[in-house]
């Protein structure tokens, strides 16, 4: 593909303009110490959605062993992914993920990445608005939708509250982002204590009167191993996969190279443990305990909404925690969606883009299925965006060892790298079909066309992360090898920065 077309060029220019101030590697005087990363991870990963995900694990019938040890293993894998895969490349290259993807995949695929990323950010921000709305609706006696009981659309008053919350969040994201970032930082030490306090106070309702009673109640009343009616069963690997996969686009997908490029040392990646073990371990376990207490007191068929379980565990402080946990994370999510939308909406002002993203967020908030299937939304989001990070990892560490040139799209000025396209969509589509053939009746026909060893493969969707990563790098490397073998010419030197900048001009041996 050539970069001569004027229309195409203008699109690339627009794309670059959005990231205009991000293309230079971070200078030494702007590097941060470990404390900044500990604080950032601690605050960012205690969100309103933790009230949903911990509850979902209870409803999906995980056992106590699955929850306590599966989440432990999954979170350890997530921390290792940040520390050993994401942070080392971030401190060596010191560029945003945007520029790293652009170098290996070309600007056109980066446009697709940005547009789809904006959509999923709106959906995730919408789920956070929905979480906040359950808390605001609770004291007014407005019933939150119960998707499991057949509520496909919320009641009108609930939607009005959700739109009100959404408008406030959109307005604040437009005009007061920095102040809100400060406020989120103030919320960070307090919110985990509300989770813990609410859970500990709920334990007597489950018959736990001393530490010795906990495991018995955990097995028989909290994580019973029996899913709620009409809900699929999750097991140990589901817990491992969900904890590992829910932020996969940030670690294995390399999204957080944008953050860790400010780190003095690569091992600051281990700071992610503070986010994972406070937010995705303690908070999920606490919300699971509060959910079980709620079901115990209100009956198995009741609706354990985030507002309902927080009210039961912590009263007004719990409700405020749900509102703030949803609100403080919805704001940066909406901000990121706005930045990503900027790529495909040239000439739009900042406020118009944010309002546009805000409307998408409010629509998503009013679809109860989004919150009910939040674990699946998060899993699809991770699986879809992860391959590009896998390419960055392989391009940096493995390509030179295989005799392949790094940053091929940038060197040749390609608008799109077809190996990246094949690896990205190929791995996602294959993994999707392998899962869908078992999960969705309309895809059962896939088994008829597959060889027997694949037809008998019954994957846990949350554990697709590993095969997806391997498939992505195999497809990408195979196609990149063909692409580079086919090229007959002198490879131009890199003008950028990082380790690759010092590579000499290389002439490929043409066959």
């Amino acid at each position: 593909m050539s970069s001569s077309d004027t229309h195409k060029q203008s699109l690339v220019e627009r794309l670059d303009a959005v990231n205009e101030f991000e293309r230079e590697p971070v200078s030494k005087d702007k590097l941060h110490g470990a404390k900044s990363f500990i604080a950032m991870f601690s605050s960012e990963h205690v969100a309103g959605t933790e009230f949903v995900l911990g509850t979902l694990l209870v409803l999906h019938g995980v056992s106590a062993f699955d929850a306590l040890f599966g989440l432990l293993v999954g979170n350890i894998l997530a921390v290792l992914s940040w520390a050993l895969m994401c942070a080392p490349i971030a401190v060596k290259e010191r560029l945003t993920v945007y520029w790293q993807i652009r170098k290996i995949a070309g600007p056109y695929l980066t446009v697709i990445y940005s547009a789809l990323f904006a959509v999923i950010m709106c959906v995730l921000a919408g789920s956070m608005v929905a979480v906040s709305t359950t808390a605001i609706a609770h004291p007014f006696g407005i019933e939150s939708p119960n998707f499991a009981a057949g509520d496909v659309i919320p009641s009108l008053p609930w939607m009005l509250v959700a739109c009100g919350v959404g408008v406030v969040i959109a307005l604040l994201a437009m005009f007061g982002f920095e102040k809100l970032a400060h406020f989120a930082k103030v919320c960070a030490p307090w919110m985990p204590l509300i989770f813990v306090g609410g859970a500990v106070a709920s334990l007597p309702a489950l018959g736990v009167t001393g530490p010795g009673d906990f495991m018995e109640a955990a097995k028989t009343k909290i994580w019973t191993g029996v899913p709620a009616e009409g809900v699929s069963k999750y097991g140990f690997w589901s817990c491992v996969g969900l904890a590992w996969l829910c932020n996969v686009s940030q670690h294995m997908g390399m999204g957080d190279v944008t953050i860790f490029r400010y780190a003095k040392k690569w091992y600051y990646g281990f700071a992610s443990a503070f986010g994972m073990f406070i937010g995705h371990y303690i908070a999920w376990i606490c919300s699971g305990i509060m959910c079980a207490a709620f079901l115990q007191l209100n009956g198995a068929g009741s609706n354990p909404s985030p507002g309902g379980i927080a009210w039961l565990g912590a009263g007004w402080a719990g409700l405020v925690c749900v509102v703030l946990a949803g609100w403080s994370t919805a704001n940066p999510t909406l901000y990121r969606a706005g930045l990503a939308f900027q790529v495909v909406t040239p000439g739009w002002s900042r406020w118009r883009i944010t309002m546009f993203a805000g409307v998408g967020m409010m629509v998503a908030a009013c679809v109860p299925a989004v919150t009910f299937y939040l674990d699946m939304v998060v899993a699809y989001y991770g699986l879809f965006f992860m391959p590009l990070g896998a390419f960055i990892f392989f391009d940096y560490w493995v390509f030179p060892k295989l005799g392949l040139q790094r940053n091929w799209a940038e060197r040749l000025g390609l608008l799109a790298s077809w190996p990246a396209l094949v690896g990205w969509f190929g791995s996602f589509i294959i993994c999707f079909f392998l899962y869908a053939k078992e999960a969705y009746p309309s895809f059962a026909w896939v088994n008829d066309v597959l060889p027997s060893f694949l037809a008998s493969y019954q994957p846990d969707f949350f554990m697709q992360v590993l095969p997806a990563w391997i498939l992505a790098v195999v497809l990408y490397t195979a196609c990149a090898t063909i692409q580079q073998k086919l090229y007959r010419g002198v490879v131009p030197p890199l003008k950028g920065s990082g380790a690759s900048a010092s590579e000499p001009e290389v002439e490929l041996v043409a066959r």
């Binding site: 702007k30 941060h32 900044s36 950032m40 920095e178 102040k179 970032a181 400060h182 406020f183 930082k185 103030v186 030490p189 307090w190 204590l193 509300i194 813990v196 306090g197 609410g198 859970a199 500990v200 106070a201 334990l203 007597p204 736990v208 009167t209 944008t258 953050i259 400010y262 912590a314 009263g315 007004w316 402080a317 719990g318 405020v320």
Partner: protein, 59 residues
């Protein structure tokens, strides 16, 4: 002044979690811990906002 604010903030955090331990041990009524958590919340937000500094530059 800052150390006084910090002290009140930490008291607020303590009020957010210690009453739940008392409920668990049977030393406090369940409904009472709601009130202590609310007071803790007010103390924390009314004081921490003044001494927790915003980030110098965004990462």
């Amino acid at each position: 002044m800052k150390s006084v604010l910090k002290l009140i903030s930490y008291l607020g955090l303590a009020l957010s979690v210690v009453p739940s331990l008392l409920v668990f041990s049977g030393a406090m009524e369940f409904e009472n811990h709601y009130n202590y958590m609310s007071v803790g919340m007010v103390l924390w937000f009314a004081t921490a906002i003044f001494w927790i500094k915003p980030d110098q530059h965004e990462m």
